[in-house]
Symmetry: C2
Subunit: 352 residues, 2 copies
């Protein structure tokens, strides 16, 4: 639970209270999904396996804290400001519901991605119970989306429902755009960024936006935190895409090379194709068009590692992270911006 | 468009205005889905193929009309009351949005059912573009669910969002319960009714409930129309299940026998297994457990037709329809209850 806390070095009271808040977020999450039907509850139990860094709820809560003006104001040092915050804790039920809703939407996308992953397994021949698993995954994802919206509506705040709906529309459109561009080996950076902005950055941005808006009516602060989340989301996705290509499966803890198998061109490959000389470019294109195999993945990985493409992709992710952190300058009194700075750093340097 | 109008014999002004209303519902539906991304719009174009009887939006609008008290009151004859209604037309933007939202939720379930249908086709060997189609269907269904909630939230009425969310939760749970009971040859009537009440009747019930609530604050009338929709929804699903087993593919216009192929036990089979003598019961169970084939489907169809099971299932559907119609007695001043009566009759006697 609350694994990102390990990268938050402030220690002490705030972190403990955040851990308690995350426990409450998880209770809201679990109560929402509880059904009178045992098979539904058993299926929901599976999504425990999907739970990862809890980045989205963490950001919703941290944005809620950072947007809070403490009585001490910006002139106080961080320790004093944190103390003031602890004395006058600003996080509410609405913050926790927003955090749970964002995580539930995220889980739904993972579960439906799992449908695609099972499809990949099928291509490699593992078809045992493929159909049964596929159907259950589709329905479980639907159940999660539906519950996310229902949970959101329990706040009785139509503007929050509307924002979440806008973002899930954007997210689905981004996934559809990505699907449309499968096996498009001339995918350009502009389209790649349009895809990841929609499918990943939009949700991470709205976590920060809604978390912040619960704590302040200063729209400049809200929008700064929204942009922070959005930029960070872009960097997060680039890092995800880099790891899928050149990460270590043991460290990352999931099957890698899936983007290649699915014909999804990501930033390192786009940069390689843009920059390589003609023969190398042709060699990579030939490998990309070939049937998926471990040999093919290994060859592509070696080509990338012998080039500057991965470093260049990292550079883009780092620049986006810097842009995210720069937004924190617009959150003048937020004593927790140092924690948001650390989250940003962790996102871009993570190896899993 | 508005195909059920063909079964509404009142004719004249009200029907013309309803057709105009349905045109507006379809405009709201289409505008909501419109994207700045051409591939998304192209994919949404496919759902035109899914459009059928438009039962749900029709019921939302008819419930809105029926719940309206006309100045003439219940003592007036139907023609006079209809005239009064035409002079003081009660349907609003909210009615039309509710109608579009319910249809969009329904389309999402059809698109995700299509994932399962493609799986069936795959089992019969048609695997061309199966994977691509499967993934697009999952994402398109998600896009529809998301847009249904977003469209709903544009009303700025949290209680409507909440009801829709409750119903989609119920609907997903019903689908999951159904999946859980696949190839359960001892499925009983109680569980079958629990499944269809959740997966079908809940949405049809809420169409009527929300449509009515926009027109009246008399909760007795709202709840009567909600129960009308719910009972009708049960009858509708039973008729659907009967047609899947013994309908004519040419008349129904879609692949039949899918429930058998998916191991879904429906009311005629449940009644057969309950009532048949031991040898016939054993013969049916053996056929049910066998590999899907046209021979198997034909044999099961013949066994059903030689028995009383289909007639008995029809009897249950008709009883539910009578229960639905009985609720209309609680809608005293509704001049359009005769149209709702006709819809009820059409649902249970339909052959497609």
């Amino acid at each position: 639970m609350f694994k990102t806390m390990s990268i938050l070095s402030q220690g002490g009271t705030i972190v403990e209270r955040l851990e308690d808040e995350m426990g409450q977020v998880q209770s809201i999450f679990a109560s929402q999904l509880a059904s009178d039907l045992p098979p539904v509850n058993r299926l929901c139990g599976h999504i425990e396996n999907y739970r990862g860094k809890m980045l989205r709820p963490t950001l919703a809560l941290l944005a809620g804290l950072s947007a809070t003006r403490t009585a001490k104001g910006s002139e106080a040092d961080t320790a004093t400001a944190l103390e003031a915050l602890a004395d006058n804790w600003p996080l509410t039920h609405a913050h926790r519901v927003i955090a749970a809703v964002c995580e539930m939407v995220h889980m739904a996308t993972l579960v439906h991605d799992d449908v695609l992953d099972e499809a990949a397994l099928r291509r490699r021949g593992s078809t045992v119970n493929y159909l049964q698993g596929n159907e259950a995954a589709v329905l479980l994802g639907d159940y999660l989306i539906s519950n996310a919206f229902h949970l959101c509506s329990t706040l009785g705040r139509p503007e929050i429902n509307r924002r979440i709906g806008e973002v899930t529309n954007t997210l689905c459109a981004g996934e559809l755009l990505q699907l449309h561009h499968r096996r498009n080996w001339s995918l350009d950076q502009r389209t790649y960024f349009a895809i990841i902005e929609r499918k990943t950055a939009s949700l991470i941005g709205v976590c920060c936006e809604l978390g912040a808006r619960e704590s302040t009516d200063d729209e400049d602060v809200v929008l700064a935190l929204s942009r922070y989340g959005s930029r960070l989301g872009m960097a997060f996705q680039i890092q995800d895409d880099v790891l899928d290509l050149v990460g270590s499966e043991e460290v990352v803890g999931k099957t890698l090379g899936q983007d290649l198998d699915k014909g999804k061109l990501t930033l390192p490959l786009i940069l390689y194709l843009e920059q390589a000389e003609a023969p190398k470019r042709a060699a990579l294109l030939e490998l990309l068009s070939a049937q998926p195999s471990d040999d093919r993945s290994g060859s592509i990985q070696r080509m990338l590692q012998e080039s500057d493409a991965v470093t260049a992709a990292h550079r883009v992710a780092r620049r986006l992270t810097e842009e995210a952190r720069a937004e924190l300058a617009n959150v003048p009194d937020g004593p927790l911006t140092s924690l948001l700075n650390e989250v940003a750093e962790a996102v871009v340097s993570r190896e899993r």
